[in-house]
């Protein structure tokens, strides 16, 4: 998953979770607040209503007191005569009551009761004709009070708040009234105590219910109950809020009543509807906003730097590294810098030889190209020295690779010293010294003054080996061969210059090693010729424009052909006078030889089978293989497959290897030879005598045949040679090691005669036969078969004759 996607998947749930949790907490707070607010509101309302009730009660008490203390009432109650009372004072007292009722519209009943309970004054609305009705007080309140007054038990004011069945709340005051004494005197005697009864409707509760219903929302019914609580004076004026089954219950205890208000849970829930909606919107909006903002920030501050880093890394390759160190403290910078370090390390590993610390071939080529480019621009001269250590392999073989490595390191150190800027004719640029491979080094001298500067350096390098080269106290006999190519004369491009210096180095080696060689026209032409050969060979291999010719090999005594040596011909090269002697080494150096060898082998096997199958040929084929194959592990297997494919008796095959290609104690080569021999075929050392094979070493080579080099055969007829011919020595040697011998290059009758005389088993050469084409070979085989048949018949005939 991309980081961007992952950020989305992680960010959104996390933000949503955080905001949801926050919203839940806020909602709980809001719910709590709302509940408290509601509680406060209801408490205020209930307090207000209590104050209102108290005010109403006070007003009603005051009204009653006003009436009872008014002159009119006092006159009325004190009027001696009933007639006088009703005539003189009752009207004004009624007027007083009417005014009171006007002042307090809640008053419903206002009666003065005689001790007997008879109404002396009764201010009631409605029909005046009937007897005044008893005030509508609950149960037996009035009767009890009258009884107690009559019994002089209760002379205190009695107040009650009550509710009738219709839910109307009323306030009633029962008060003893004396015609003579002050109403508050509790010592008054009960005999003529009147009782004033005031009943008023309390509007405050209705108002409370309406207000709360309005404020709290009409669809939820508020539980509203009022209880008489005459005994509750101890807990008067208390406010309680409790939660019962989710409903909020408020209770207010007054001296005269207790009021209970129930707010249903559904109302609390519906009050928070808006808050819930708002929170939902808020969470959604904040989540979207935060998500976008955070994503933008992460995109800008984290992902973009990372992506930019990725982009730079992608665009970077060793030539063009886009990455640069960033002087910053953040992780992306650290990652960047770590990556830069890693790249530099890798670059170093890829560009430098770990053994010597010098540039490797790859980086040297790059440097060379760069230097040459800048030199071209500045029209400066450069010299490339291609250094190869002579005989280094011998050190490796004799003292081990560790010694060889140390030798290379030491040489590398000395080489660097030898070109110190202060005493070098050329100024030292960056890493102009490189180890190209094994024992090959390259040195680029910049701004050198042509050949002379290069020559001085080359001589100094050669000078290192004048007294041998000492490593670990052992002085090794090694030298250096140096090829020198100059830029721009010998080439302007890295590949060209390097190839030319290499060619010059080979020339130096060819000229005897331990020397330097400037690239020149001759080398150039040789190289050009080699390149031409390479191209032609390539084409010839591709189009099979190669063919084989066959050099018959004769038995010395009978001079009858017993086999042929298969020779390769390339007509395209032959036209230009280039023979195998010249193109085979080129093919060996280019690697084409492996294809050539296999092609020759297969073609030869094909022809051999053809001769065998069609003509009953029983001779052998000798086939040259390159020394390169001695180091080709796959070769024995390839030969084996071909033999099997063509169904050839391996005993009829002889593989020829030049003696010079064999190096003493070359375990690889011997192993390959043994593997080939194990296939059942024979091995021959070609051009024997030109190499330096010690005689005792012949025993260790699994060869069957020595082929005496033509130079020794030709020497037989050289009259100037007074010494015993070399041929004799070789033949003696072969006899000693029980080896078969074939002499090559027999060109004169004298040579033939000598060889016949000296006991060489087989011969070949122009004197006996020129190389034959395929058709000629077939002809020869036919003739030979015919001859053989004839002789056999003759022989039988003689035999018959003799018999």
């Amino acid at each position: 998953m991309r980081l961007t996607q992952r950020v989305n998947y992680i960010l959104l749930p996390v933000i949503l979770l955080v905001f949801t949790l926050a919203a839940i907490l806020i909602y709980r707070e809001i719910a709590q607040d709302s509940r408290q607010q509601l509680q406060g509101q209801i408490q205020r309302e209930m307090n207000v209503v209590q104050q209102e009730v108290d005010l109403e009660l006070r007003s009603l008490r005051a009204e009653l007191s006003h009436i009872l203390n008014s002159a009119d009432f006092i006159n009325f109650i004190n009027a001696g005569s009933t007639l006088f009372q009703v005539y003189a004072f009752e009207p004004s007292t009624y007027a007083l009551l009417a005014t009171s009722r006007l002042n307090n519209p809640g008053i419903e009943e206002l009666q003065i009761l005689a001790p007997t309970g008879e109404a002396v004054l009764a201010s009631s609305s409605g029909d005046p004709f009937g007897a005044p009705s008893r005030p509508g007080l609950p149960a037996t309140v009035l009767e009890d009070y009258l009884r107690q007054v009559a019994a002089e038990q209760e002379l205190v004011v009695r107040e009650i708040v009550y509710q009738d069945l219709a839910g109307v709340t009323r306030f009633a005051v029962l008060q003893p009234v004396s015609p003579r004494l002050l109403v508050k005197d509790s010592q008054q005697s009960g005999s003529d105590i009147h009782v004033a009864v005031l009943v008023a409707r309390l509007g405050a509760f209705d108002g409370l219910r309406e207000r709360l219903q309005q404020q709290l929302g009409g669809e939820h019914e508020l539980g509203f109950s009022l209880a008489l609580d005459s005994a509750g004076s101890a807990s008067a004026d208390q406010f309680q809020a409790t939660v019962t089954a989710g409903d909020l219950v408020f209770k207010q205890v007054h001296r005269l009543y207790s009021l209970e208000l129930k707010v249903p849970e559904a109302l609390l829930w519906s009050r928070l509807q808006g808050a819930r909606l708002n929170l939902l919107l808020m969470v959604s909006a904040l989540t979207v906003f935060s998500f976008l903002a955070l994503r933008l920030l992460i995109q800008r501050q984290i992902l973009r730097p990372v992506n930019e880093l990725v982009q730079r890394v992608r665009e970077s390759h060793h030539e063009n590294i886009q990455l640069q160190r960033i002087d910053s403290n953040d992780e992306v910078s650290e990652l960047n810098n770590a990556y830069v370090n890693l790249l530099q390390d890798i670059h170093h590993l890829a560009s430098f030889d770990h053994l010597t610390g010098l540039a490797n071939r790859r980086s040297f080529q790059l440097i060379l190209a760069r230097q040459l480019h800048s030199a071209r621009n500045q029209s400066a001269q450069s010299a490339l020295l291609f250094i190869d250590l002579d005989n280094f392999k011998r050190v490796n073989d004799q003292y081990g690779h560790a010694t060889g490595d140390r030798l290379l390191q030491k040489f590398s150190d000395q080489l660097q010293e030898s070109i110190r800027p202060e005493d070098v004719v050329a100024s030292m640029g960056e890493n102009v010294l490189a180890r190209l491979a094994g024992d090959e080094f390259a040195l680029l001298l910049n701004d050198t003054d042509g050949a002379s500067g290069a020559r001085i350096v080359a001589e100094r390098i050669l000078g290192m080996f004048d007294q041998g080269f000492e490593v670990d106290g052992v002085c090794h006999n090694i030298n250096a061969s140096i090829g020198i190519a100059l830029a721009p004369e010998d080439g302007n491009h890295a590949q060209t210059l390097l190839r030319n210096a290499d060619a010059a180095m080979y020339e130096a080696k060819a000229n005897g090693k331990n020397r330097y060689q400037f690239f020149n026209r001759d080398i150039a032409s040789v190289m050009s010729r080699r390149q031409k050969i390479e191209k032609v060979l390539d084409r010839a291999l591709d189009s099979e424009h190669l063919h084989l010719v066959y050099m018959p090999i004769f038995e010395t005594a009978s001079l009858r052909p017993t086999g042929v040596e298969v020779l390769l011909r390339c007509p395209a090269l032959a036209e230009q006078g280039i023979g195998p002697d010249e193109f085979i080494p080129v093919a060996e150096s280019t690697g084409q030889i492996k294809r050539i060898d296999l092609w020759v082998l297969e073609e030869a096997l094909l022809h051999l089978r053809c001769l065998r199958d069609e003509h009953g040929y029983q001779g052998f084929f000798a086939i040259n293989i390159s020394a390169v194959e001695l180091h080709n592990e796959a070769f024995p297997q390839q030969v084996s497959e071909l033999i099997a494919r063509y169904g050839i008796d391996p005993a009829l095959l002889e593989l020829e290897i030049t003696e010079t290609s064999l190096v003493s104690d070359d375990a690889d080569s011997i192993e390959t030879l043994q593997a080939l021999k194990a296939l059942g075929l024979r091995l021959a050392l070609d051009d024997f005598g030109t190499g330096y094979t010690a005689f005792n070493q012949l025993a260790s080579y699994p060869v069957d045949t020595l082929k005496i080099d033509r130079s020794f055969v030709n020497a037989i007829s050289d009259s100037s040679q007074q010494k015993r011919p070399m041929v004799d020595i070789i033949l003696t040697l072969a006899e000693l090691y029980d080896l078969h011998v074939i002499a090559e290059g027999v060109e004169t009758a004298a040579e033939l005669a000598y060889l016949q005389h000296s006991g060489c088993q087989q011969l070949q050469g122009y004197f006996l036969s020129m190389p034959l084409s395929w058709n000629a070979l077939q002809q020869l085989v036919l003739e030979e078969q015919a001859l053989l048949t004839e002789q056999r018949e003759k022989g039988e005939h003689l035999k018959l004759v003799v018999d």
Binding site: L83, E90, R101, G126
Partner: protein, 364 residues
């Protein structure tokens, strides 16, 4: 509270201040006896009183009540003993005298010339009072408003359309119920419950047409020229006052065809101590036909002194609303005494009507 003697002090401030100066003058000149008079406002001819003081050398000092219940409270509290003469309505005087609160004035019959008084008023005042004035209850209305002259009490309770909402009615236990009884064709002092129930119905019915629940003169006094009143309930002497107060000259008083009721005021002497000489002198002085005639002319009320009538000037004497015709006087009973339950029922009727009206309860 009876409005029968509406205080007129506000109407005649100059006259009052002149009297005060005169009294002060007399008091300082003669250190004679003082007669304490407890009375309605503007109920005496100032010149008449001045003459008394000059003649007798006594000093007259007046204390006023403007509400009968206040006077009655003063009486029941006993403080009335501080007064020498109290103006009492005949009915109250009869009731309180049964308890011996006022002195028997039989001994003064010769001094006051008891025979000069109409026996009707002498009977009303009894032995405890010297008859002073009398009057009748009726309706007052504006002729220019009325589509046709009013005749019946019924029109007070169920007014003709032009008067609806312009009626000012005083709610008195006896007088209002009497008018309602008369309107219903019943005797004004009926104790018949059915008749009273009918009267109660009329009273309730009337409430919706009221401009104010007040005494007409009080209303006029409050609103003056802005008065909207066109029909009210009052006494014969109110006609002039209404004209003065409202500036509406078309006010007229009538005694409806169903009849009316009469009131009589008496002068009574508290029973605590024997009547002083000055008191006796004053009662004798005021009962002289010539003095009574001049006093009646001054105050605009009919005098109970039969012998004074010929001495009163024709313009006053000819006002039949003040000096009621003999036929009316013959037909209409002087305020009789009602039983306690009858009064109590009337009190409760009036109270119920007022309370319901206050509460906005509309009669059917």
């Amino acid at each position: 509270m009876s409005p029968r003697r509406f205080p007129r002090s506000a109407l005649t401030p100059r006259l009052l201040s002149a009297c005060a100066c005169l009294l002060l003058l007399v008091a300082t000149q003669l250190r004679a006896e003082t007669v304490e008079l407890y009375t309605w406002h503007s109920y005496w001819g100032e010149e008449v009183l001045g003459q008394f003081e000059v003649e007798s050398g006594h000093q007259l000092r007046r204390s006023y009540f403007d509400d009968e219940s206040v006077r009655d409270a003063v009486i029941t509290s006993g403080r009335y003993q501080g007064f020498d003469i109290v103006v009492m309505d005949a009915l109250t005087l009869q009731i309180v005298s049964e308890h011996g609160l006022f002195a028997d004035l039989s001994s003064l019959n010769d001094d006051i010339g008891a025979d000069n008084f109409d026996p009707r008023w002498r009977q009303a005042c009894g032995v405890h009072g010297v008859p002073y004035t009398y009057g009748a209850l009726g309706m007052l209305y504006r002729k220019s408003v009325a589509a046709e002259p009013l005749r019946s009490w019924r029109q007070l309770f169920v007014p003709p359309p032009e008067h609806r909402g312009r009626v000012v009615m005083f709610m008195d236990n006896i007088d209002t119920s009497a008018a309602a009884l008369l309107a219903g064709g019943a005797p004004p002092y009926s104790e018949d419950v059915a008749e009273l129930r009918q009267a109660y119905g009329l009273m309730r019915q009337q409430q919706r047409h009221l401009l104010a629940r007040n005494y007409g003169l009080s209303y006029a006094s409050e609103h003056g020229l802005a008065s909207q009143m066109s029909l009210t309930f009052g006494y014969s002497s109110d006609e002039l006052e209404l004209r003065e107060l409202t500036g509406q000259e078309d006010w007229t008083f009538l005694i409806p065809e169903e009849g009316t009721l009469l009131w009589a005021d008496c002068l009574a002497v508290p029973s605590g101590s024997p009547a002083s000489a000055a008191t006796r002198d004053f009662l004798a002085f005021i009962s002289r036909p010539a003095v009574a005639a001049r006093n009646a002319e001054a105050i605009g009320y009919a005098t109970a002194n039969r012998s004074a009538l010929p001495l009163i000037d024709e313009s006053t004497r000819g006002d039949e609303q003040v000096f009621l015709s003999e036929s009316i006087l013959r037909e209409v009973p002087v305020v009789p005494r009602l039983t306690v339950p009858a009064v109590r029922l009337r009190n409760r009727m009036v109270h119920a009507v007022v309370v319901d009206a206050q509460a906005g309860v509309v009669a059917p």
